[in-house]
Symmetry: C2
């Protein structure tokens, strides 16, 4: 067991936002929430899933919706507690631990806030090792768990319990309800036993996020040193460095969708890069060639500080660096690729392995580049 204090919270917020690959909400807001919870209820305990009893109830909690809306509808701890407590009531069992669904500025923090409030530990890990836009995009789903019963609440006091026939139906019903609730909701879902958590989760995501956050937030390291450590310690690849020349945004169906366009600087001076996002960055195309796709992580960071920039924070003129990080192996299984591969998102391209080093060719651009 390990305590999360204010210092760790700061690192976690930065690192989780990087792993959020553009989605998962703003790190500043998430950190404020968790800080408030710690100062009110005391420190948060991070546990390894193996420390939990096999029969104990584990409840993941998160915020659902477009990050652009999430930053406008800050949840208070009360709503998250309502969601978790209602799930406990439905199942007739008290939770032994809280879990995060995904890494991200808000969604790594919400579980901390509710854990502090309920005096429960948070498990070191999540269900993605990053962030993804739909709720069936979890290692739980790939490994056969159901997302229901699922509870949704909003800041007004509306409350929904979903029990769907499968996880894509849960996603559909929860998404339309979230849109009706104003574009964002607080959710508790995938209730599971400690045993199921051990068998299905992506481990260590919180520790990894804190490591990444400590590195990127380091005041004594310059850009090149940080980038070098990202490469050697986290298998990062620099995909691009340049200037944002356009951000086209489309929201309305419960997601923040859009396209980022950049022109290159320095080594990338002759190049252009385009990134398509749906809450998270999905696919990166450099000079008409696919250089990275989901499930690998496409992270847009400030070119000087290497601090992560979420999709809602992208603006014209920013100097950015784009790094690729390899995804958790769960996504390279057959069901994993069906669930989050580029083709699921409508891109007729093959996944391009980051592990093969800097890319000079690509399979196809499917006519949409």
């Amino acid at each position: 067991m390990r305590e999360i204090g204010l210092k760790e919270l700061k690192d976690l917020a930065i690192g989780a936002t990087l792993l959020g690959t553009g989605g998962g909400g703003d790190p500043y807001i998430g950190r404020l929430m968790a800080e408030a919870a710690i100062s009110r209820y005391g420190p948060i305990h991070l546990v390894d899933v193996d420390e939990l009893p096999d029969e104990g109830l584990v409840v993941p909690a998160a915020m659902m919706g477009a990050p652009t809306v999430m930053v406008e509808k800050i949840p208070n701890g009360k709503e998250v507690e309502t969601a978790v407590s209602q799930l406990e009531r439905i199942l007739g069992k008290q939770a032994v631990a809280i879990m995060t669904i995904e890494a991200g500025g808000i969604n790594s923090m919400i579980p901390l806030a509710v854990a502090a409030q309920l005096h429960l530990p948070v498990i070191d890990g999540d269900s993605m090792g990053r962030a993804f836009p739909e709720l069936q995009m979890t290692s739980f789903h790939v490994r056969g768990l159901k997302a229901t019963p699922m509870v949704l609440v909003d800041e007004k006091g509306n409350n929904l319990v979903i029990d769907a026939i499968d996880n894509p139906w849960t996603e559909r019903l929860a998404r339309t309800a979230t849109v009706a609730m104003g574009g964002a909701s607080i959710i508790a879902l995938y209730p599971m036993t400690g045993r199921e958590a051990k068998d299905t989760m992506v481990r260590g995501t919180m520790s990894k996020a804190m490591d990444l956050g400590r590195l990127l937030g380091h005041s004594r390291l310059d850009r090149d040193e940080k980038l070098q450590r990202l490469k050697t310690q986290h298998q990062a690849i620099e995909l691009f460095s340049g200037k944002v020349v356009d951000v086209e945004r489309r929201s309305g169906d419960g997601f923040a969708r859009g396209t980022l366009s950049c022109v290159g600087l320095d080594a990338f001076g002759e190049s252009v890069l385009r990134i398509e996002f749906q809450n998270e960055n999905l696919i990166a195309v450099r000079d008409g060639r696919v250089v990275a796709t989901v499930p690998d992580l496409i992270c847009v960071v400030d070119r000087e500080t290497l601090l992560p920039i979420t999709t809602e924070g992208l603006t014209y003129g920013q100097r950015v660096t784009v790094v690729g990080l390899p995804s958790d192996p769960v996504w390279f299984t057959e069901k994993g690729m069906q669930t989050v591969g580029p083709q699921y998102f409508g891109y007729q391209v093959e996944h391009v392995s980051l592990a093969e080093g800097p890319i000079t060719t690509a399979e196809t651009n499917g006519g949409w580049a």
Copy 2:
């Protein structure tokens, strides 16, 4: 207590469809459902609400969605039973009676089917004395009851429990879920005590529907005799007789919306009539003048048989008669008119009283006639 057998079922189907004022679903389908339930589970008992214990749980059940979709997604008794049973489970109480929310070909019958299956009586009455398109449009709402907890189920097995802050929010959340479920769902809502039912319901709607059905289905009476009895026994007014020349339909938001246009025959030979509908007929405009509006009943019937025609049954060339019937007094209260008056539906016109006899002038056509 009174038994509903096959003869009564036939009358009820016709009369309830008339009171459905175009909405509430097809009478033939509804009747088949109730017949099947009676033949499997035995006769249905119709009770007066005063026969129920004050403390007993009363559960209204219905189908929600566009009638055009409802006739394509026929529920089986199982789904309705699931909805009612889940509400019982949530409240920790067994129902003592089933209630209908609205009059209509399907929504008068669904409660009968589930009542037969659960061996419970059905109360003689509903919450509208007619049909309306939204779930807060009930005498329960006007008199202060909450629609939640509300259960929605679909034919696939998806299941939702809504607990909203007020009835308009319940409508919004249930409507979006219904659209996501394919446009129609089975619902159990407004759970209440026998005392609350006595204080808030519209009484006698089932008996009235059976009376109307017996009259309209009568084989020995001709058109003029039926019309005369509708006028003397039910305060009906003949608003129009003519031929359907256009039916413009717009669906997609969970409602069947549209406009019916007719040209006159006989005494109405020089006239044209337009009816706007949202599941139910909302407003009738003859020669540019408003001649009837919600909450009064605007019923389109076959010109010869006077049998009711639902909005989804309207087609070019039909010879129709349009009759107006006065609504239950609950709708003429201030909250009643706010809830279902023409202005709620977006028409900038005043309600025109049917009781004043054949209309020769109208307040205004609000620029939309």
